[in-house]
């Protein structure tokens, strides 16, 4: 189902990611998954934490431009070709993916994939119809 994500704008300045993590540490917030999209001049840090609402509050108070976005999350077997299967389903239905990231915990036999699409409900419907294992809301 849906996973709430925070996205932070990072201008190209040294120490910004460290500042980000310091702000969350001081608010006692745990980062569960994180990825950075970087360009020549800036980056976007995307993360899921154990308390996004509070994270957004403290990040904004510390001058981080922070967005909240719902992503579609699902689980696949942690074996070759599993993600490809899902992407082919989405491609077959003409669903465009803005970005995607995934993670697998050590010792687990599945991986979690989070993706940003234009229409979450439609994407979830298609995935469910095709037997894809959507995860529960905000439970990674």
């Amino acid at each position: 189902m849906l996973v709430n994500q925070i996205a932070v704008f990072l201008e190209n300045r040294s120490g910004r990611v460290a500042e980000f993590s310091r702000v969350l540490k001081e608010a006692d917030i745990n980062i569960q998954v994180m990825s950075i999209a970087d360009t020549m001049e800036y980056g976007i840090l995307r993360a899921v934490t154990d308390d996004n609402k509070k994270a957004i509050e403290v990040l904004r108070a510390n001058g981080f431009n922070t967005a909240a976005t719902d992503l579609v999350g699902f689980k696949v077997q942690d074996t070759p070709g599993e993600m490809c299967k899902v992407l082919e389903v989405l491609e077959g239905h003409g669903i465009n993916i803005a970005y995607l990231y995934s993670f697998a915990r050590a010792g687990e036999d599945y991986a979690v994939i989070l993706l940003k699409v234009d229409d979450n409900q439609n994407a979830m419907k298609i995935l469910a119809e095709n037997g894809i294992n959507l995860i529960e809301d905000n439970i990674l």
Partner: protein
């Protein structure tokens, strides 16, 4: 000594010139008092009548004119001549995006052409010369000013205008131009491109060049002279007064000679507005002594420099300008274009996604001015996709370019990251060594 275009005027004994200047000043003050309502109001306010102006020294009694006056009376409100007699319009950028507009009569064009021609002749240009003009043509006075000056003295003019550097070099090479007119930064760029094309200055026929519309240095002069194989002369002008040729150097390269029978220079303290002592630095002020279209009385150029009173070896008796060292306002000159930070501000303020804080950084890289504007995101704004940021950057870049006439690199930064200053805002870092 090279040819003097108008010996009677250019070498006129100083006392005699003062009489001519005084007579012209009285004439022009009478004209603006009778035909330009804003001038009449300004003079009436301090109880000054044209009859109070009897010599050039009386000029200090007159009120100043600023860009704000021109803006307040946009577009033609300061014109003295009827539109029947105006034959040309020029304009330059103003502080809030509104243009500073001037109108010229045929006599104004002739005076301007002669002013340019005098400067050209003083540096060796003759009727046999071929003048390659790589200043932009249009509302900007650079191209057309130099163009008419060259034609006025009977030289051959090549109106190349700006852009397409390879073609410029081909034209200069094939037509064997001996004279080049362009901005000093473009001249350095031309020299670099020439070398990159595997050519040397000997492949061209250049002997002299006139460079202006932006401040430059003696170091740049050396670079241009070596890179293009010519002698580089400083030409000064501004559209409000007339355009290029208000002052031009002579063969001795010791500061531009002001055509002071037409354009009378003063240096004032920009704070007290009082004239400074002879030779001291301050703000350059011009009065157009002979203009009809839009005569300006004590127009504050905002350029900081001093006047040179020592007689020149060339025999001309006119005053000379020392190097322009800066501005008394916040105008920036980027690739020859006048840019005011307030123009950029007016674009930023319209977009709710960004804060009113910004910072401009100017560098000169490979002899081209590069302007970067750090723009701060509004606190409430956020993105999770790169695409959204790129769209915002593109929009701001296009809006700023259309407001100021040059392209700047827009760099987005987080809310609150631009340093707030107490008192006067410091929003420009100019790293150019000028």
């Amino acid at each position: 000594m090279s040819y003097v275009f108008n010996k009677e005027i250019e070498c006129m004994p100083i006392e005699e010139k003062k009489v001519l200047q005084g007579k012209r000043l009285r004439d022009v003050v009478e004209r603006v008092y009778n035909t330009v309502a804003p001038y009449r109001a300004k003079m009436d306010e301090i109880g000054l009548k044209p009859e109070d102006i009897n010599s050039i020294d009386d000029i200090v009694k007159l009120p100043f004119t600023t860009k704000t006056d021109l803006r307040a009376n946009y577009p033609f409100g300061m014109f003295s001549a009827p539109m029947d007699d105006i034959v040309r319009i020029h304009a330059s950028s103003g502080t809030t995006g509104k243009l500073t507009v001037v109108g010229l009569t045929q006599r104004d064009l002739d005076d301007w052409s002669e002013a340019c021609a005098r400067g050209f002749a003083a540096c060796g240009v003759t009727k046999q010369s071929i003048i390659h003009i790589a200043y932009g043509y249009g509302l900007f006075t650079g191209g057309l000013g130099a163009h008419y000056g060259g034609e006025f003295m009977g030289a051959t003019v090549v109106p190349a205008s700006s852009g397409n550097t390879n073609r410029q070099i081909m034209l200069m090479k094939d037509f064997k131009a001996d004279t080049l007119c362009c901005t000093p930064s473009y001249a350095v760029y031309l020299a670099d491109e020439l070398r990159k094309m595997g050519l040397t200055p000997q492949d061209l026929s250049l002997k002299q060049g006139f460079f202006g519309a932006e401040p430059w240095t003696e170091e740049m002069r050396k670079k241009i002279e070596e890179g293009l194989g010519l002698k580089a002369y400083d030409i000064y002008g501004l559209s409000e007064i007339t355009g290029p040729g208000v002052a031009t150097e002579c063969e001795y390269q010791c500061g531009p000679h002001v055509q002071d029978d037409l354009f009378y220079p003063e240096i004032i303290d920009p704070v007290t507005l009082q004239p400074v002592k002879e030779g001291e630095e301050g703000e350059l002020v011009f009065t157009t002594l002979n203009k009809q279209g839009i005569p300006l009385i004590r127009y504050r150029t905002r350029d900081l420099c001093s006047l040179i009173y020592e007689p020149c070896k060339c025999g001309r008796t006119s005053l000379r300008l020392a190097r322009i060292t800066g501005r008394s306002d916040d105008m920036l000159i980027i690739r020859g274009v006048n840019v005011f930070p307030s123009q950029i501000e007016s674009v930023l303020i319209k977009d709710k996604r960004i804060s009113p804080y910004y910072h401009i950084t100017i560098d000169r890289i490979n002899n081209l001015d590069i302007m970067q504007i750090d723009v701060e995101l509004d606190r409430g704004v956020a993105f999770d996709e790169v695409q959204e940021i790129e769209i915002l950057k593109k929009k701001l870049t296009a809006d700023i370019a259309s407001a100021i006439g040059v392209t700047a690199k827009v760099n987005l930064v987080s809310a609150g990251s631009i340093k707030r200053s107490e008192g006067k805002a410091v929003y420009v870092t100019d790293n150019r060594k000028i």
